[in-house]
Amino acid sequence: MENNIIIDLKNISVSYDGEPILKDLSLYIRDKEFITLLGPSGCGKTTTLRIIGGFTTPDSGDVIFENKKINGVPPHKRQVNTIFQRYALFPHLNVFENIAFGLRVKKESKEEIEKTVTDMLALVNLKGFEKRNIQSLSGGQQQRVAIARALANKPRVLLLDEPLGALDLKLRKDMQNELKNIQQKLGITFIYVTHDQEEALSMSDTVVVMNNGVIQQIGTPISIYNEPKNAFVADFIGESNIIDGVMKADFKVDFSGHRFDCLDKGFAPDENVDVVVRPEDVDVVDEEKGMLKGIVTSVTFKGVHFETIVDIGGFKWMIQSTDYHEVGKRIGLYIEPDAIHIMKKSEYSGLYGDYSSFSEEFDELSDASVDMSEEE
């Protein structure tokens, strides 16, 4: 496996104006892999990408490309190409010239350029757009030109910095598929940066969850979702109810005043733990049949399901179910052993997983503000 590694980041630290951005980050990337750096704004994912692209030099640590240290190698000498946020297409050149830009810099022959550009346009479904002006293209078309422009240089690694961020939802879904197809067709390494967990889960071979300049968890989309390492990952990937629990013995955990069977083991007796229960894994039953009993405090219709908030002994649970339970109704909850995931206590314990202050609007507002600060 070792010789399959194309990029190896070793103990990378970066700070900006005395503010640490990356803290001793180590990460290796396999050839032909679709790897996604996922995290909230300001987590250091874009900085990691810029270090690989050569636009940022780490304060300490090594960047290894195919067993060669490339710390000080400038961007134009690296075998990687980048697709930038908002594409960074050249407004003074038409579609053809934008795609041919890198080839012309390399002084490729006319025929070669012609052929490559035509191939690339076919690859991104933009045949016949050669002479079009950049400003006359839609966002999705510009996105395709940006992809074609980067791929025309036949990079070993393609870096994508939130490439779909500016597109609307429907188009984003289509482009996700298209990008995945292109990656598989060309067989090159994609390093993809996003803060959209759904995008990360649906496209990637490997997901790297980051926060505050530290990698929280590396794994396949399924393992990250099902076995989050800490409260941050559990909360960031999907919705989670995270409850304080005590591990009584292997496969036995106490929380919310009830003892549950679970599939986890290897904890010290009576160790305090974080218990994760995904909202879709909770079954709603009659009050008397429930392992836990509570009262419905709010219901939101989400299309596929209802999002029901249930107050159980002061802790607000989120439950997703296709049945409607009106506010004020007393209900019981039933949780299967395989729906329970036990995590060790971490610095994030107690910060996430309680829906008592839950407000979607508030979430989005705070998201937007963080987004803007990153753009600067």
Partner: protein, 644 residues
């Protein structure tokens, strides 16, 4: 509402463009007047193409505008990129404030401070002729810079900061990335900045006025210097040509921009609009340089053909003589006349730098401040008195001049140079009264006609204190150089009496008003009356019996002149009968040179207005320097009169 706004727009455009259309209209006038259209003619266009002095000034202006705008654009664009990349907000805003100072500063402050700096550095480095093309170029680049930066910086802010990274990502070195990605996307702003600098530099007068020297005169400076003798109509032709050139450029740019705009939404290639802008800018620059070259070649070398003999040798061949004279005050070859300076250059091999001024006072400022070494100046009487007192002119030995004998006796030993040690008379003028025979009855002979109630609203008086008070002083029989307060108060009373009858206090407008018959009576110089009479034959002229003002402009050598012998050679040349004749014909004032007065070919020979009986000349008074106290009194009284 709609009609109101339409009327408003129409009026706006009318006021904006009416002056230009009047100018264009009169550039086709067969006559000289700006009041009377005497028929269609292209003669001023022909004249401007033969006017080497003006074309030289135009060439200088274009060279200056092109070089300064190109340099300012290069530096300004680089500066804008630097400022854009500054990380510290405070540093950036501080830099911007500093950059903007030349723009916020009144031009006159910028001009004076630059002149002081240049003169100071010049003295420090012991350079004699500091002021000239170099200093002009530095000054123009300086005031153009902020305009380029202010154009480019917002465009840089607009462009995606990732563009340059994208180019590097695609294989460009950082430098290549700038030229291939950033520069093209800010190019429209760079071009606008350059065009703006070009036009600003083209029409700058104030700053240029302060920092230029004898060897580089620009067009605005030349036009401004013409105010002594009123602007020549060939300037209308030139202005029209410049206006049309700029109009064509603007239209080209607009067309190309609208095409580029259309291209944004079509499948046509983008670059076409940009190409047109580039081409039109290139075309304008090419034409500018073309004009420069053509004009440059005009001064072809051939030997002098005029009949002079004596002192002229080629011993100073290759040296330079800086001549500073009134505008329109020396024959320059237009209309097939003699080109005095060119002939002198051919004869002696000395290069003449000819620059012009508009008033004794502005000439005085240049001499006083230094930074430019003039060899010849031609000030008026009272100014010569002042220059001598301040040691700004040097003694010359007039007896060593072979042609000094031509100077008429009555113009020797004048009050400002009683022993003929400093000056050689060049031109003489007398003030008289011009009147329109259709509007004024009989033949007036006294200043009192300016107080005649029946001409109420048709009387003009000078718009400068000394000349306006003079009119009252002659009538009251006073000495115009008195320092008696009571005399001045009496003159003020007289002028206050006259004020209700006065149509306006004017200077240059006298030409228009009298030529068009818009006023009946105005005091002015006899020579200028002849010009007006050509247009309006109804005009007549007389010297009032109470006496009048006489002035003499004489050639002097400033103390800064180091080659007195060459300067003397030039003075001798000005006294040559053929040269003096050409100058007298052009200036149209009286000549103190007897060879001219007695020359049969002199078109104004024995003219009763230019050369009146000696009695009138003897009766006329010179303006002398007033003592500071009297001067202040005069200024106060003048304000009092204007405000009453």
């Amino acid at each position: 509402m709609k009609t109101a706004s339409k009327i408003y727009t129409a009026l706006l455009y009318l006021f904006l463009y009416a002056p230009i259309f009047v100018l264009i209209f009169f550039s086709f006038n067969a006559g000289k007047s700006t009041a009377v259209f005497e028929g269609f003619s292209l003669k001023w266009y022909a004249e401007i193409l033969n006017d080497t002095t003006t074309l030289n000034a135009l060439r200088n202006t274009l060279i200056l505008a092109v070089t300064s705008s190109v340099i300012a654009t290069l530096i300004g664009t680089a500066a804008a990129v630097g400022i854009d990349r500054m990380k510290s907000k405070y540093l950036r805003s501080a830099t911007m404030s500093v950059t903007n100072i030349p723009m916020m500063n009144p031009d006159i402050v910028t001009g004076i401070s630059m002149m002081l700096l240049f003169v100071f550095v010049g003295t420090l480095l012991n350079i004699k002729d500091t002021l000239g093309f170099g200093t002009l170029l530095i000054a123009h680049v300086t005031f153009n810079l902020p305009y380029v930066i202010l154009n480019v910086l917002p465009k840089l802010k607009q462009t995606d900061s990732h563009l340059e990274e994208a180019a590097q990502d695609l294989g460009c070195t950082p430098a290549m990335a700038f030229f291939k990605a950033t520069l093209p996307s800010i190019m429209p702003a760079v071009t606008t900045g350059m065009i703006m600098s070009f036009t600003l530099s083209l029409d700058d007068f104030i700053i240029s006025y302060f920092v230029t020297g004898p060897n580089f005169q620009t067009l605005p400076l030349r036009i401004y210097a013409m105010t002594k003798k009123s602007v020549k109509p060939d300037m209308y032709a030139l202005s029209t040509l410049i206006f049309v050139a700029i109009l064509v450029l603007l239209i080209l740019i607009n067309i190309s921009q609208s095409r580029a705009e259309k291209n944004k939404n079509s499948v046509k290639p983008v670059s076409r609009g940009a190409k047109i802008v580039k081409r039109s800018v290139a075309a304008v620059l090419a034409v500018a340089f073309g004009v420069c070259c053509i004009v440059g070649f005009n001064g072809s070398e051939s030997s002098s053909t005029i009949p002079v003999e004596g002192v002229y040798s080629r011993k100073f061949e290759g040296t330079v003589l800086n001549v500073y004279n009134w505008g329109e005050y020396m024959s320059d070859g237009s209309d097939d006349t003699l080109n005095v300076n060119e002939e002198f250059e051919k004869l002696t091999g000395i290069k003449v730098n000819y620059a012009e001024y508009d008033s004794n006072e502005s000439m005085y400022t240049k001499l006083k401040n230094g930074g430019a070494a003039y060899d010849i100046v031609i000030p008026s009487d009272y100014m010569i008195q002042r220059l001598i007192a301040e040691n700004l002119v040097q003694k010359i030995d007039v007896t060593s001049l072979q042609n000094y004998s031509y100077i008429a006796e009555e113009y020797k030993n004048l009050y400002f140079d009683p022993n003929n040690e400093y000056s050689v008379p060049y031109s003489v003028g007398l003030v008289g009264l011009i009147y329109n025979t259709k509007m004024v009855e009989g033949t007036p002979d006294s200043w009192s006609v300016m107080w005649d109630e029946q001409y109420k609203g048709n009387i003009l008086n000078f718009n400068n204190s000394r000349d306006a008070f003079g009119v009252a002083q002659y009538l009251l029989g006073q000495d115009v150089n008195t320092n008696d307060v009571a005399d001045w108060q009496a003159a003020l009373q007289k002028l206050k009496e006259q004020k209700p009858l006065i149509q306006a206090y004017v200077m240059d407008e006298i030409f228009n008003k009298m030529e068009a018959g818009n006023a009946a009576i105005a005091p002015y110089y006899a020579g200028d009356f002849l010009t007006m009479q050509e247009v309006n034959p109804d005009l007549a002229f007389f010297y009032p019996k109470e006496g009048t003002n006489i002035f003499v402009d004489s050639v002097c050598v400033p103390s800064s002149c180091e080659n007195l012998e060459a300067a003397m050679m030039y003075i001798d040349f000005l006294l040559e009968p053929v040269v003096a004749l050409a100058n007298a014909e052009l200036i149209c004032y009286a000549s103190p040179n007897t060879s001219v007065v007695n020359n049969k070919d002199y078109s104004l020979r024995g003219n009763e207005y230019l050369y009146p009986e000696t009695e009138i000349i003897e009766n006329a008074q010179y303006f002398q320097n007033l003592d500071p106290k009297t001067l202040k009194l005069l200024n106060d009284l003048w304000s009092e009169l204007k405000l009453s």
